[in-house]
């Protein structure tokens, strides 16, 4: 057997803390080593050529490369072996960069550790056997979980590339948070006006099957071949029959809080969350309705001309197979009632960012008039408090929620557009406007619309008669300041939604410390997860505005199509196998759904 050893300097990345010449020399004395060399950049074309020439010249059968992480260049070196007719799996990579030179500054110790790792690799290499890659078929359909703007965009993109797509949405309509927004920064175009055409397209698209009121309850299988169970909850109104006539509304005796309007207006137990909702059908909320169980009221059923109401609808489980999955389960606002000193939940006129979106919206509870919740008066002074919950590692969220500087600026500007002689004051720590045309938007708010910005965090918000007393600081003048406002809007930070957390745990997707789904690589694989065939899009992976959400969704869709477009996929040959003589049948692997191992295990 002949082994070739190749040590990379990686410029000075490795060479500065590892004596590469020394380990190359010492490697020559290891068993079976026919040739041992060092090169500045092993991954470069000349570096690869060097290995190829040696394979010919020395008749090498195994290769050991001491360089960076196999995550970076294992594929590169495997193809070098393949080009020369060797089995690509008789390659051993020793990571002397991430595991040695980058985490150590003592050259002697670095050299010693590198040599120990390299020696182990050479011995292991002698035992390596060629492996064959398996091929599996691909199911040419996609599953998109979550029907916010991310899921909508991903589903439309996949469908328009010709693949059948199932879009699963937990609530009664697609649209997500974007459907609740009034106008969007930085262009101030109406959110519904740009969203609803996409929603209609989802409904109409021959390749999209929309399952609303549905949740994914089980995912099995592997890339190209996922087996999924979806639970579809009853709507109690037959979608295809409901004509949206609204005859049921006046007869329903139940009044409940309207979630779409953040609880600021009432709705009936039978309702549609907003006129443009898709599926375009009423729904009965089983928790509010009197008729479902026990059967004491059937008023809506009696008046429904098309006989669309069915109190006996049952949940159903749908089992389907998919080749690729996009997770787009979105975000939830931070529970700002946790910030005791800001008074949300106790002071009536302290509201959240999403509350404000509904109040300012023409389709909202006040039909776009800016009226404060307590007494319906027009607020003369409104204070917008940035970073409500964000950038506060001591008690709340450690990260910047990224969108709130912009939406608070938007909110202040919208207020000034409606209440021309009113005063809008934004308390901020830093203004973050990194995005196309965002800085200009902020400048416009300050210069043209005279929105006032005070640099400092508010310490306390107190009720004072029918006004609100703000205790803050102006760090630029160095003064503590107090002022009265008629309404306070908190720039609520954002967190992963419950659905995002549930899906991450159901599919064993890695999450970061804040619960957002982790990308396979933060820079180079932003829409992949660590599980092949499962992609992510939108705010499920972290705070994002709509432009970023949509581009990520299109990225995830194109990656999913990369799988769907193939007839068969090569499955990695390096899979775990079960040693029957050692297996204790604890089934931890089954519980962790280690897909590929299960393929081989009876």
């Amino acid at each position: 057997m002949k082994i070739g050893v190749y040590v990379c300097e990686c410029g000075s990345n490795i060479a500065s803390t590892v004596d590469v010449d020394k380990i190359v020399e010492e490697a020559k004395d290891l068993p079976n080593v026919a040739v041992s060399r060092v090169y500045k950049y092993m991954c470069s074309d000349p570096g690869q050529e060097l290995i190829k020439n040696d394979i010919d010249e020395y008749n090498l059968d195994k290769i050991v490369v001491a360089a960076c992480s196999p995550r970076m260049h294992e594929a590169t070196f495997r193809s070098v072996l393949e080009d020369k007719g060797l089995n690509p799996y008789v390659l051993e990579i020793v990571n002397i960069r991430e595991h040695v030179s980058w985490v150590n500054s003592d050259k002697d110790k670095g050299t010693e550790k590198s040599m120990a790792l390299l020696t182990g690799a050479v011995y292991r290499s002698a035992l390596m056997k060629p492996l064959e890659r398996k091929k599996v078929g691909v199911i040419h359909t996609a599953l998109v979980i979550g029907g916010g703007i991310a899921g909508i965009q991903a589903a439309l993109d996949i469908a328009s590339m010709g693949y059948k797509t199932t879009l699963v949405e937990k609530t009664s309509s697609i649209g997500g948070k974007m459907s609740q927004l009034d106008k969007t920064f930085p262009t101030l175009d109406c959110s519904q006006c740009i969203l609803s055409p996409k929603m209609v397209e989802v409904n109409r698209h021959p390749n999209i099957k929309l399952l609303s009121l549905s949740e994914v309850v089980a995912v099995d299988g592997y890339v190209g071949n996922f087996k999924v169970k979806i639970k579809r909850n009853p709507r109690y109104v037959i979608e295809d029959k409901c004509t949206l006539c609204g005859d049921c509304l006046p007869v329903c005796p139940v009044i409940a809080h309207d979630e779409y309007n953040q609880g600021f207006s009432p709705r009936k137990a039978i309702y549609i969350s907003y006129p443009q909702a898709i599926p375009a059908s009423f729904i009965i909320d089983p928790d509010d309705c009197l008729g479902i169980n026990p059967l004491i009221c059937t008023k809506c059923k009696e008046v429904c001309g098309p006989e669309a109401i069915d109190f006996d609808m049952q949940p159903e489980i749908i089992e389907k197979e998919f080749g690729a999955i996009v997770v787009a389960t979105g975000y939830a606002p931070y529970p700002i009632e946790n910030i005791g000193e800001y008074g949300y939940g106790t002071i009536h006129d302290v509201i959240s960012g999403l509350d404000y979106e509904r109040i300012v919206s023409a389709s909202g509870p006040t039909e776009g008039k800016i009226l404060r919740p307590s007494d319906g008066k027009i607020p003369e002074t409104v204070v917008f408090i940035h970073c409500a919950g964000s950038r506060d590692p001591s008690k709340h969220l450690p990260y910047c929620s990224k969108i709130c500087c912009m939406y608070s600026t938007k909110h202040a500007l919208q207020y000034k557009h409606v209440v021309h002689n009113g005063t809008a004051i934004n308390f901020y720590i830093d203004i973050r406007t990194a995005g196309k045309d965002y800085e200009e938007f902020y400048q416009r708010a300050a210069e043209e619309d005279k929105v006032i910005y005070i640099r400092g965090k508010v310490s306390e918000v107190l009720e004072d008669g029918d006004q609100i007393l703000i205790k803050g600081v102006d760090t630029l003048s160095g003064e503590t300041v107090e002022l009265h406002a008629d309404m306070v809007v908190l720039a609520t930070g954002i967190t992963p939604s419950e659905g995002t957390k549930e899906m991450a745990s159901l599919m064993n997707l890695a999450v970061d410390i804040n619960g957002f789904i982790r990308e396979a690589h933060p820079k180079l694989k932003p829409v992949d997860t660590a599980i092949a065939g499962i992609f992510i899009a939108g705010t499920a992976t972290g705070p994002k505005d709509i432009p970023d959400t949509v581009s990520q969704a299109s990225g995830a869709a194109s990656k999913a199509c990369g799988i769907l477009s193939q007839d068969e996929l090569e499955i990695e040959a390096t899979v775990a196998i079960v040693d029957d003589s050692l297996c204790l049948e604890v089934v931890a692997c089954v519980l962790k759904r280690a897909h590929i191992a299960l393929l081989r295990c009876k």
């Binding site: 000193e341 970073c387 950038r391 506060d392 590692p393 001591s394 008690k395 709340h396 720590i429 830093d430 640099r455 400092g456 965090k457 508010v458 310490s459 306390e460 205790k471 803050g472 600081v473 102006d474 760090t475 160095g478 003064e479 503590t480 300041v481």
Partner: protein, 136 residues
Amino acid sequence: MSYGYIKIGSEEKAFIAKVEEISGQNVYSCYQCGKCSAGCAFSYKMDKTVNQFIHLIQLGQKERTLDANTHWICASCFTCTVRCPREIDVAALMEAVREISLRENPEKVRIADLPKESLEKLPNIALVSNFRKKTG
């Protein structure tokens, strides 16, 4: 507006290190949001607000820090410490500066020599620091 020449050399760094050593805090955790100043009941008596004072420490401006009255006005009520979003024990920073000031000039105040009327008027915290100046 005043003019200040800023140098961050070894003396300044030594001052920062001393404050950090005594207080156990990283002064660079402060991102100058000002919530400490906003909530401080005595801000109006301070010639530098709490966050300005911390900023001076961040720049190692020892003289200007010691010249401020902020640390003497501070009553160690801990409101700033409780509210700081960056988990800084701001009151400990105040105490550290008081300690530095008193250690450099141990005879600055001799409590035994103080007339009773002054004792009644002095902020308690100044007296407490005087007792503590050689401990910890």
